[in-house]
Amino acid sequence: MAKQLKIFVENKPGRLGAVTEILSKKGINIIAFTIQDIGDFGLIKLMVDKPQEAYLALADKGYACALKDVIAISVKDKPGNLYKLSSILMKYKVNIKDAFGFVLPEEKQGVCCLDIETKDLKSIKKILINSGFKILERDDLYQI
């Protein structure tokens, strides 16, 4: 599974800077990031090449952070593919708690990182693979 690093931060200037400074000193590469804010605080959410190391580096500095499993799915970048993906999840009543996606233009690949609620992750993965999606495991993800 791919890992997403979630860091609790106050909603004020300088917090992304403080977090990324720690990671850059450890030579950690950030593949993707989003920020979610709900008022006076929020989360910085990162996909990095060395999740465990990044987690320890931040926890060591006192940050409240957590590593969460996410499923990273890659698919050809063409119309209708996100619909196809979401239809499958809908059919099996899988709820998406959190998601973000991006496209790699050179590879013509789309990547969706999903935090999903399901009792049977194995079957869902199998179904997705059988429908033509590729599940990016940790190493695949960091090589894209």
Partner: protein
């Protein structure tokens, strides 16, 4: 100025006679106190075994002070001086977690309390013709019931509106031609700010007077309220350990609050040296009850700071007056009329596992009302990466605080370590409200 009295004989009693009365009542109080486990031990240690050991009012100085902690240790019965079957009501202190202080009343005690409150109301010029809307909380909090019974005894038309629900308060004030209200000063200002929103005009009302209490406020605030509503506002003083309201009240001259000295012996001490202070010198107010059978309390340290005015009042009442309360000799905070200690807040939030090491309490004014902001750090090891969980945590902290300190706080979550205080004693409270 027209002067009226509820009990003219007592209220204008010559001071030498008043002191004689005090001594007689103090002796009775000592007898009652000796019925309690708490005072029996304490008085025995200083050689007081019966009321005979009290020869003059000066003997009071031999008796140690009673503190809030003493009364907490007495909880629930160690300071009760009568058989429970004689107790008709009890009140506990407001806004406390853990162990509150409790005051028991016999039928006569309630009667005495009510009489003091009626005296206060009459001293402001009210009569049975008045319509009285009581905007203070009813229940364990003494402000509501205390004034309620005093006003009924006078024969006022009492509207037991209790606190909150501003729109309904205004409707009642308008429909029943309310002439007198009892509220916290901040609530009066709040009501005024809501007139337009709720479709009322100040001309809709027949208001003449307001009794203001339960929180410290400045002379400027009084004048402001008087001007906004075109009324007279009177300062009221009381504390749950001394019954509640009815301890001190302003007369029509509004120059300090008369303390009913046939019901309380009034002393002012230096909170540090505990030495008695002269009139005109600010210190901590200390009271001894004189008219209570069930819960006699000797030399109670109120922690309220004020001074006794020198000289006589034009109203001819011989009972001395104290200044408005200028502060506290402990760290108690008064938030919209509710008493709260920072330690209570600490105790509550530190019980929640997701809360980290540090916290900060900030008080601000929002319009007329106080705003309590509790900033807490989250505990990094309990963080699971879920925003919803954080929201739930915030709600949980709010609910726990609200249920124990009766104040709805604003809770802010902060990063671990961000609220730590590096130097010296941690400053956990920031009171940014304008000074009185």
């Amino acid at each position: 100025m027209k002067l009226s009295y509820w009990n003219k004989k007592i209220e204008t009693m010559d001071r030498s006679l008043l002191k004689k009365l005090q001594l007689k009542l103090l002796k009775e109080t000592i007898t009652h106190a000796l019925n309690t486990d708490f005072y029996k031990n304490r008085l025995k240690k200083i050689g007081i075994r019966s009321s005979e050991d009290i020869k003059s009012l000066e003997d009071l100085e031999r008796i140690p002070f009673t503190t809030k902690d003493d009364l907490r240790e007495c909880y629930p019965y160690a300071h009760l001086s009568v058989n429970l079957k004689e107790v008709v009501r009890l009140h506990t202190s407001s806004g406390t977690t853990g162990i509150p202080t409790v005051v028991y009343h016999t039928k006569n005690d309630l009667d005495g309390w009510t009489d003091l409150v009626t005296r206060c109301i009459v001293a402001t010029g009210c009569s049975s013709l008045d319509v009285f809307q009581n905007m203070m909380s009813y229940g364990l909090f003494t402000g509501g019931l205390g004034l309620h019974y005093g006003a009924e005894r006078l024969g006022m038309t009492v509207i037991p509106a209790a606190s909150g629900n501003t729109r309904r308060q205004l409707q009642l004030m308008k429909d029943f031609r309310t002439t007198v209200v009892h509220a916290t000063p901040s609530y009066m200002l709040h009501i005024y700010s809501k007139l337009e929103e709720f479709g009322f005009n100040i001309k809709d009302f027949n208001l003449k007077k307001a009794f203001l209490g339960a929180e410290p406020y400045s002379e400027n605030t009084r004048r402001k309220i008087e001007k906004l509503f075109s009324i007279d506002a009177y300062n009221s003083y009381g504390l749950s350990e001394m019954n509640g309201p009815g301890v001190g009240f302003e007369c029509v001259y509004k120059c300090g609050m008369h303390i009913w000295e046939d019901a309380y012996i009034l002393e002012v001490i230096d909170p540090k040296t505990k030495k008695l202070l002269r009139e005109d010198t600010e210190g901590e107010i200390v009271f001894t009850t004189l008219n209570r059978r069930a819960t006699p309390i000797l030399r109670y340290r109120t922690r309220d700071l004020a001074f006794i005015y020198k000289g006589n009042c034009k109203c001819k009442r011989s009972h001395r007056r104290i200044s408005r309360i200028t502060g506290r000799s402990d760290d108690m905070l008064i938030v919209n009329g509710v008493n709260v200690f920072p330690s209570q807040i600490e105790e509550i939030i530190m019980k929640i596992p997701e809360v980290g090491n540090n916290y900060l309490v900030r008080l601000e004014k929002e319009g007329a009302l106080d705003k309590l902001i509790v900033k807490v750090e989250i505990y990094s090891k309990m963080f699971k990466g879920d925003l919803k969980e954080l929201d739930k945590l915030k709600e949980k902290i709010i609910a726990e605080l609200r249920s124990s300190i009766i104040i709805h706080p604003i809770v802010e979550l902060h990063e671990p370590g961000s609220l730590s205080v590096s130097e010296g004693k941690a400053k956990r409270v920031e009171d940014l409200r304008p000074k009185i």
